[in-house]
Amino acid sequence: MQSFSYARPASLDSAIATFAEGGEGTRLLAGGTTLYDLMKLDVERPERIVDINGLAELSTIDTSGDELVFGALARMSDVAADPRLADEFPALSEALWKAASQQLRNMASLGGNLLQQTRCAYFRHGEPFACNKRSPGSGCSAIEGLNRGHALFGGSDACIATYPGDFAVALIAFDAEVDVAGPDGERTIPVSDLHRQPGDNPEAETVLMPGEIIIRIRVPADAVGRGSTYHKIRDRESYAFAVVSAAAAVRLEAGVVADARLALGGVATVPWRAREAEHSLIGTALTAETARAVGEIAFADAVTREHNAFKVELGANVVRDALLIASGRA
């Protein structure tokens, strides 16, 4: 691991100043579950670390109002255990407790979780494999390689690495936003715009500007949340990344769907909202057949590779099952 110098500011203002003073080669450390892991692999080689765990002001959780407000340093385990979240937004709660292990959820912050980096083995494990995300311009070993876990949506000739997180997938289904703070003040970004598709420069993963820190996540406390689920299919029953996942929410009026949300995980380079599939649900009565048809719409434009084509069939079934679970709670 490359050596680095370490700073631990005690307030947000100090953290912004420290991050700015550090400049290029400086990274923020929150839970550390991604960053420290990738530093051990030499994929991340920061020269300076700003440890923001002393910023107690960013650890608040408030689910009492018209908007759910989570400080960026709230830990995944604490948010997953919030009673109102579990009752009224089961998809958000499930997306958290079905991720990682309790040890990691006790460590990992929500802000850091949104920025979790891909599990693409060619990204993580370095030479001799090419990876445009790790080493821009070197090529992509996954496109013709072992791409069982790689993206069906949002890929490019430069990168098909899957966005690995769960919580962001559930957040975009509910039109959540993040507030960020930087040297030029605060701004708000929809979570659905936070991540960049790889295009020609897959190393640029988010729209965050240098020096910006995610400070909170806000979710409209919409009634559609109650009829929701985060349905996550994994290679083992627990403690694994999604092979395919779906955040689904429906609100029913007189037995037909009045509002529907659908977002997909494990299958795209960014958290993926399936809007056409959502629209197809409005005004329908949900059955296994109609829900399966929605799943087929969601995966209609999938671009498959040698080893991941199975996810089209699996994905349509995951969407079906997610919608049926969600409607059972609506």
Binding site: S5, R8, A10, S14, L29, D51, S101, Q103
Partner: protein, 210 residues
């Protein structure tokens, strides 16, 4: 814990750290950040000023009730600090990437993967390791239950399993076999002693809650 295992690492002359701090011109902020506060220092800290970047860190935290003041390379994991610097080798290094759970310890009562925790992150916190669970008179009920239920074969994952299991009970996640399996999924046992582990946790939970 026996007296010979209770030890406070000799406070090293902090010349390296002091030199770095003085060079940075922000000694007060830097010291305050590492829990080495004095009343005078606390008053002088400017909230919006940048914190100093330090090539070494002087960290103070408690391990099993004993305060440790250690001077370390900021790259050092809590796991390596426990094993290599403090000499408590009960906590095991498995994957060193947060995937296996062998390194599980408690920080302020919450279970974490010590391999993915920088030692510098736990300044002022209270760490509990497997060595601090029982005492000279008796094993912790979870340790006893692991023996009673034959919940191990090679034993390498066991300290992490037990630390995770104690937290699992305290969190209220040991209510059923299914819940135990879900909330213990971060601890891998390559010997496959899972049936015994689950039985031990169910049993110990009754003792701990009784």
């Amino acid at each position: 814990m026996s007296d010979d295992r209770k030890r406070t690492i000799e406070k090293r002359p902090w010349s390296i750290t002091r030199r770095a701090v003085l060079a940075s011109g922000s000694a007060v902020g830097a010291l305050a950040a590492f829990g080495l506060k004095t009343p005078a220092m606390a008053q002088e800290t400017t909230p919006a000023a940048p914190a100093a970047f330090l090539p070494r860190v002087l960290v103070s935290f408690a391990v099993n009730g004993v305060t440790q003041d250690i001077d370390l390379d900021p790259r050092t994991s809590l796991l390596d600090a426990l094993r290599e610097t403090i000499g408590l080798t009960g906590t095991k290094k498995g994957c060193d990437h947060g995937q296996c759970g062998a390194c599980t310890v408690h920080v302020d009562g919450r279970r974490v993967a010590s391999c993915l925790t920088l030692a510098a992150q736990v300044a002022d916190r209270e760490i509990t390791t497997i060595e601090g669970l029982g005492d000279d008179e008796a094993l912790h009920p979870m340790q006893q239950a692991f023996i009673d239920h034959d919940a191990l074969q090679c034993g390498y994952c066991t300290p992490g399993q037990i630390m995770a299991a104690v937290a699992c009970v305290h969190e209220g996640h040991a209510g059923s076999e299914a819940e135990i399996r879900e909330y213990m999924s971060g601890n891998i046992c390559r010997c496959g002693a899972y049936p015994g582990i689950v039985a031990a946790i169910r049993n110990a939970a009754q003792v701990m809650e009784g």
